[in-house]
């Protein structure tokens, strides 16, 4: 089936044939997850892998360098790197391949970095291991790789520990780590998932540049057709572990042969809510934030302290049934803001008034009582779910804590609503796909009836049909239970379609508030303008392909 466009005599950097992977379930039974897939990537080629959440994309990516989890196994097929068979190699042989021959950008940056080692060293050690350069040189290489990732302050990032970085920053570090040795083959699993459009565009440009200049073979996994459209020459579409369609980008995007493919390409706009209120319309204020500040200090062993003003005086008002979107560059303080508002982080100054009561000044015990009313969907699903829980446990937990009835029933219903089949209910959390974890997180948040629901990048890693489905669900629930919705998103389109108002965060301050349409049409602040431009560029790529 795979039609090889390379001349027959040239060896492809990466060739996958007839690959099948199985996972062993909790009861010891083996279930196929990837079946008989095959593709080849030539030098200087970027192959896009598109597919719905849970179809086996990550499994494929992990199987190639032999990194399947303990309960996974390649049952059939071959993987060739520059003609060398990888399936069946010893761990030691594979060590030499990984990082140097194949760079892997894993899907979950939250867990991909060692919490007790500075990230700079984690990048540098890859150089050290493969190139055996002196440490000083390795660090230089690492600093260079980090600098390419569009950080405003690469020095600080270099010396930070993972927990001191924002989600997007962590993701960029993992990309830098995969690329630092300039491997001939790179596998990138949702590399831009939690990046804002501006940075995404930069990174994609970088990748494309690498592909072209270094004749890199890139396997790019994404649910976002725009991302694929930006660089992938060919696209493979996967469904339930099998390849349903494969071909040049234009072909697949313009005339998908399969209705499944088509569904993955179109975002259906969710029905615009009827009572979409914006705070200006005289609705009672629910949340009133004044001058919120949060400063992190970085200590170096023998160096000066450095302060990072994650929030530098944020003022924000949210109505009782508002739908507010927060957008901003990666590292602009979005997550910090919502974490502070959900009372999960202690702000350094300012006020958070909920119905007139200042929550910052409340004693610990009373604050705990307020908390269930303010729910946050975390940015990193993998970190926000207890790895020891099963899927069902995770969804049931808040209901159990709030002593709700019919928990199991409701939990299963909620899972169904976010597209998780009941078969997954007993699965331990670490054995879910990235998108499945994300959905689990959403289901868990929806199980409670908060007064304010904060969603931190809730749609990353989800395919378009799911995004639509969940957006509709959210609006539905808001209509019936009336709560305020604060959405952090780097996807301006999505934010626009869901929110009644958009606030742009930059450098820890809110620099602009506007109706979505206004913002898209006439961004006033430079930061806003940058975001809008980036979104246009990306969309333009897609449009270019499709038109």
């Amino acid at each position: 089936m795979p039609e090889n466009r390379q001349p027959a005599e040239a060896v492809n950097p990466l060739e996958v044939r007839d690959l099948s992977v199985c996972y062993r379930g909790v009861h010891g039974e083996w279930a196929p997850v990837v079946e008989e897939i095959g593709f080849a990537i030539g030098p200087g080629e970027a192959l896009g892998l598109l597919g719905e959440s849970g179809c086996g994309k990550t499994t494929t990516a992990l199987a190639i360098p032999g990194l399947l989890p303990a309960n996974g196994r390649v049952v059939r097929g071959s993987v060739r790197l520059d003609g060398r068979e990888l399936v069946g190699l010893s761990e030691r042989q594979l060590e030499g391949v990984r990082g140097a021959g194949i760079g892997l950008v894993a899907q979950e940056p939250a867990l991909a970095l060692n919490p007790v080692i500075r990230v700079g060293e984690q990048v540098a050690e890859v150089v050290r291991v493969h190139r055996r350069l002196p440490w000083r040189r390795c660090r230089e290489e690492a600093a260079r790789a980090l600098a390419e990732m569009g950080f405003a302050d690469p020095g600080r990032i270099f010396a930070s520990y993972p927990h001191q970085l924002s989600g997007g920053e962590r993701q960029r570090v993992t990309i830098a780590r995969a690329l630092v040795c300039q491997p001939p083959v790179v596998i990138a699993d949702e590399p831009t998932a939690s990046l804002d459009t501006a940075v995404s565009v930069e990174i994609l440009a970088l990748l494309r540049d690498l592909v072209e200049r270094h004749r890199l073979a890139l396997l790019l996994i994404s649910h976002d057709p725009r991302v694929l459209a930006a660089i992938a020459g060919r696209v493979v579409v996967m469904r339930a572990g099998r390849i349903v369609e494969q071909g040049p980008r234009e072909e697949v995007f313009r005339q998908p042969r399969h209705p499944y493919t088509e569904s993955l390409l179109r975002r259906l706009t969710p029905p615009t809510p009827t009572d979409g209120a914006d705070p200006g319309s005289g609705e009672p204020l629910l949340l009133d934030v004044r001058g919120l500040r949060k400063t992190y200090t970085l200590r170096r062993p023998f160096g000066a302290k450095r302060a990072v003003d994650a929030l530098a005086g944020v003022d924000l008002a949210v109505g009782a049934s508002a739908r507010l979107a927060l957008v901003g560059r990666s590292g602009s303080g979005k997550s910090t803001l919502v974490r502070c508002l959900a009372l999960l982080e202690e702000p350094d100054g300012g006020e958070i008034r909920l119905g007139g009561q200042d929550l910052v000044a409340l004693p610990r015990r009373q604050r705990a009582a307020v908390r269930p009313g303010l729910q946050l969907v975390f940015q990193d699903p993998a970190a926000a779910l207890n790895p020891r829980f099963s899927a069902l446990d995770a969804v049931e937990e808040p209901m159990r804590l709030q002593k709700m009835e019919d928990r199991r029933q409701r939990a299963l219903e909620l899972m169904e609503q976010v597209g998780l089949p009941p078969a997954l209910a007993s699965r331990p959390v670490p054995r879910l796909s990235g998108g499945q974890k994300r959905r689990l997180l959403l289901a868990r948040a929806l199980a409670t009836r908060p007064r304010v629901l904060f969603l931190d990048e809730p749609f990353t890693g989800l395919d378009l049909p799911l995004q639509t489905q969940i957006a509709a669900l959210l609006l539905d629930l808001q209509a019936s239970y009336r709560f305020a919705l604060v959405l952090v998103s780097h996807d301006l389109d999505l934010a626009g379609s869901l929110a009644g108002e958009v606030a742009v965060l930059d450098g820890g301050r809110i620099v602009e508030r506007a109706a979505p349409a206004d913002l898209l049409r006439r961004p006033r602040h430079p930061a806003s303008r940058e975001l809008v431009d980036a979104a246009r560029t990306l969309q333009g790529k897609m449009d270019g392909v499709v038109e």
């Binding site: 909790v26 303990a70 761990e91 009372l343 999960l344 269930p372 926000a384 207890n386 804590l401 959390v429």
Partner: protein, 350 residues
């Protein structure tokens, strides 16, 4: 995960060792409970003609070379002038008998699994300095040691788990108070406390009383160590997103501790448990020294192991090592079980 790759084909052998461990422990506990039936003698029956007698040799072939289905043995006689050297008296063979009636005695058993006709003695594991059957004493001794060791270690680790988790999780003044208390407990002159306690207790303690006392004292003394270790393991848990999330859902501290934080420390706690059980079996000796352990002639593994602390016994009478051998087995088995539990917890299967 990495392990799965590095260690190949160990799944099945792991099952086997788990089964072995569970089987061994089950046997021991059954043996302890059924000591009255299994032991060929009472734990206090002395045979002063046979002090430090080596294990008897069970024979199947007699002097004439005939093979017997039923094993038999000869009487061992101490060589005159050479204490501790025994020779077999081949004049008469004594076949091993099964399900023999037991003479009335302290132990209250009616029937015993096996025995031999007097004056022969079946000392399968040899005798101690009073000519008491080691096997019987091991079985009866297991009653106290296996239970007290496990209970005391369990108590200490449970207390330690609680204190360490609370301290590491809550931090702040509570952490300070708990950890300073643990230091106090580590520094306390326990010996004097125990002596003072002993002084107010009646002179003859009932075995059940001293058993409970033993467990309580060891547990109370021992919590500080596991507490500090657990605290170390738990310390970073409070910043984890999923812990924050659970608190956000209105999970009380107790709930969050139980469901999210404590499992972090299970590995440490189980390791401590596996380490403390043998230590507490041995600690019983020290307690006996203070008059708080079990008194003669009631056996415990601790007091039996203490015999090894006499140079001549250690050097000369190898069969006195049996309690150490069994305790080693117990340690290994507990460890295997602990390991298994930890793995199951890790995989989220429990």
């Amino acid at each position: 995960m990495i392990r799965g790759v590095i260690t190949r084909g160990v799944i099945t052998s792991r099952r086997v060792s788990l089964a072995l461990a569970a089987g061994f422990l089950a046997l021991l506990y059954l043996g302890a409970l059924g000591a009255g039936f299994l032991a060929p003698y009472g734990f206090d029956e002395q045979d002063r003609e046979h002090t430090y007698a080596p294990p008897v040799r069970l024979r199947f072939r007699d002097g004439g070379g005939r093979l017997h289905l039923r094993p038999f043995l000869y009487i061992g006689v101490e060589k005159p002038g050479a204490p501790g050297v025994y020779e077999e008296d081949r004049a008469r063979a004594f076949p091993v008998r099964f399900l023999v009636p037991a003479p009335p005695g302290r132990t209250g058993a009616r029937v015993r699994l096996f025995g031999v006709e007097e004056p022969a003695r079946i000392f399968l594991l040899g005798t101690d300095r009073f000519g008491r059957d080691q096997l019987s004493r091991l079985l009866y001794g297991a009653r106290i040691s296996l239970f007290s060791g496990l209970l005391a270690a369990g108590l200490a680790v449970a207390l330690g788990l609680l204190a360490g988790a609370v301290a590491g999780f809550r931090g702040g003044w509570l952490d300070q108070v708990l950890m300073r208390t643990s230091e106090l407990f580590l520094a306390l002159p326990w010996l004097y406390l125990l002596l003072a306690v002993r002084a107010v207790l009646p002179l003859d303690l009932a075995p059940s009383g001293s058993f409970l006392l033993l467990v309580a004292v060891l547990g109370a003394v021992g919590w500080a160590r596991p507490a500090r270790l657990v605290r170390g393991a738990v310390l970073s848990a409070r910043g984890r997103d999923y812990v924050l999330a659970a608190q956000g859902f209105g999970g009380s501290d107790g709930y969050v501790l139980r469901r999210h934080v404590l499992p972090q420390a299970v590995g440490v706690a189980l390791t401590q448990l596996a380490l403390l059980v043998p230590q507490y079996v041995l600690a019983e000796v020290a307690m006996s020294f203070l008059g708080l352990g079990v008194a003669e002639p009631v056996p415990s593994w601790g007091t039996m192991l203490a015999e090894l602390e006499r140079y001549d016994v250690l050097i000369s009478y190898q069969w006195m090592l049996w309690p150490a051998v069994l305790l080693t087995g117990v340690v290994l088995s507990y460890h295997t079980l602990a390991e298994h539990i930890r793995e199951r917890l890790q995989a989220g299967e429990v």
